[in-house]
Symmetry: C2
Subunit: 193 residues, 2 copies
């Protein structure tokens, strides 16, 4: 396979992710993906014969891995829980600021824009949020094991919601405030000193 | 104006709201609105000569009022803060359950799916979240005035994010957990006893 073609496949995946983060499922049509990835239209059909569902799905697989890595790298270092949680939300802020708050979570945007009949992608998005919550739960080592899953699910909800508010207000304040809220919540789950 | 036509206008607005709640901005095209509202296509152009931007905008105005009323009616009664916050999230759960978790917040879904160049709708969505936060802030009377605005903004972020998680998991658990998280956070803002 020529190097060029391999590049096209990756560019299609990466372009799809950008479009999903900007505008959700309907923003990631074949023509839009061709425009943003600068890949030949034929290569979209070549690499993704099943069409849009396929390149969206593969893009979301990559996105799941990228955010799992971000969660692990921020939440699992050796600093205090407060520092790690702030670092996590701060990293998300930086990602959003890079796009001037026009891009947020690809999964959140996809969930809210899937047409009916997209059961497979719906399931994939749901599983991705579960994966992220599981990764976060593993990192919240201060929280008693029985409460980690709940804490982690709330973290993911806060993350998704704060990104909506951040896009609306075009600022990182909602992400900073979400960090403070999550820390207050998680402290109630810690064992008494 | 004939009663029939008046009905068509309202049905277009209501149908648009359903479509926005299901799939965001791109789901609310003229053809989709005609199908869901059972209004004659001509009446869409008659009542909304500026097209999609106009009926989406008017639908969001109505939606802002409806959710402001919901916030006020749940958060401002005379029961404890805990009961009011749970009632608020519970009411949102009920609304989502009515659609089998296929519909969530029209504003959240619109923010994440607006095409670039939709500055007016972007501004409207942003202002709507501010209005809801202001209404909530007025109801959080236990919280010291200086901290009410922040508490209310976090409530709205949690609300938006928990709805994403609820759609993904097709369950009301994220909304219940969001209520618990918000209560833990808001307690840290209360004056010491």
């Amino acid at each position: 396979m020529a190097r060029n073609s391999t590049g096209a496949r990756e560019r299609i995946i990466d372009g799809t992710t950008v479009l999903l983060r900007q505008g959700g499922y309907s923003a990631a049509g074949v023509n839009e993906v061709v425009a943003v990835s600068k890949a030949p239209k034929g290569s979209v059909y070549h690499y993704f014969p099943a069409g849009k569902e396929q390149f969206v799905s593969e893009s979301l697989v990559n996105y799941e891995i990228a955010i799992s890595t971000l969660i692990r790298s921020t939440l699992s270092d050796t600093s205090s829980l407060e520092k790690r949680v702030k670092k996590f939300f701060n990293r998300i802020s930086q990602r959003m600021a890079l796009s001037s708050f026009t891009q947020s979570c690809a999964v959140g945007a996809t969930i809210l824009s899937l047409p009916s009949g997209s059961e497979l992608l719906q399931k994939q998005c749901s599983e991705t949020l579960d994966v992220w919550a599981n990764v976060a739960a593993e990192c919240l080592v201060e929280v008693p094991k029985a409460k980690r899953a709940c804490a982690a699910r709330v973290l993911i909800s806060l993350l998704e919601g704060a990104q909506i508010s951040a896009r609306a207000s075009q600022s990182d304040r909602p992400l900073k405030e979400a960090a403070v809220c999550f820390l207050a919540f998680v402290k109630t789950l810690l064992p008494p000193n």
